[in-house]
Symmetry: C2
Subunit: 152 residues, 2 copies
DNA sequence: TCCGATTGGTTTCAAATTGCAACCGATCGG
DNA sequence: CCGATCGGTTGCAATTTGAAACCAATCGGA
């Protein structure tokens, strides 16, 4: 989670010019990514999130607020009724590739051979293929064949 | 971080059959993914990691141990000399797509228009293209066009 | 070979974060 | 109108994190 913006000077990022670090500052705690995962799977209400994740209620309040403050979730009025619901913003939905790669790594490395786990499927019920970095010409890329460059 | 395996019965996962949750249990804390990022960028020694991340030394000790215990890092003997170094295992290297998607989300959503940040480039210095989920036939997929299915 | 610097930690203690459980006012449903 | 549910809040205990001091084992140069 980003350090709190108590002085109004902005969040004091862990590593201000690394995009990985900024993202981790925003969603890299035990619960935020699971909240996003559940939102992508249809969770909308406070109790939805609480029951699916098992998170403590006060912490859930805090996370929903922070994710909302950071523009990943938005509160919307329920179509019928008065209660407020949470929905992913465009930025929140754009975390989909992150959730997918986390899922796929977990499927490959966090289960024993025989263990069952959920899988992500497309509209036709076909498994979503592994997401792998590739150059513009399609050749696969790894951490050994890429590097981080200071920009500009 | 996974709950500790104090009873020898295995880590009590947050959500045992969700691969996303298992991955978050293993690397979803403030520092582990930054340690992996730095390992991918060439960090090998304790002080390498400490200086690049700025993490407290006792916490770094703990994280290096846990990542090693979980098979993401391995300790190897330095080619010349006696000190031990850390290197990514195959499972650790396989987190590359996760780091890439975190980075790309950060580049898109965690920087103001004018702010500078590092970029990931391939061997030719060309920017690594955005990683986007797609079906086997190449059509783009989003959280709205996919779903999680219980498997078997 | 001696000496000081560096490395890779460990220890101690304080501060921050998390979780549990009880409580609460505003709905909702009948 | 009544009881259940929703979306929290509050207080407190347990856990995790961080800063700083300390330390033994190298390492590197004079």
């Amino acid at each position: 989670m980003a350090r709190d913006d108590t002085d109004g000077q902005g969040p004091a990022w862990t590593d201000p010019n690394c995009p990985v670090a900024r993202t981790v500052d925003l969603v890299g705690d035990r619960w935020s990514l699971l909240i996003i995962r559940d939102a992508m799977d249809g969770a909308r209400s406070f109790t939805d999130f609480q029951q699916r994740t098992g998170i403590a209620r006060n912490i859930l309040t805090d996370r929903l607020r922070k994710l909302t403050a950071h523009g990943l979730l938005a509160q919307v009025d329920a179509p019928s009724g008065r209660r407020r619901l949470y929905a992913l913003t465009e930025a929140g939905k754009d975390l989909f590739p992150v959730i997918v790669t986390l899922r796929q790594w977990g499927e490959r490395h966090a289960f024993e051979a025989g263990e069952t786990h959920s899988v992500l499927v497309d509209g036709d019920g076909a498994r979503v293929p592994d997401l792998l970095p590739a150059a513009a010409n399609g050749s696969p890329l790894t951490s050994d064949t890429t590097s981080v460059r200071r920009h500009p």
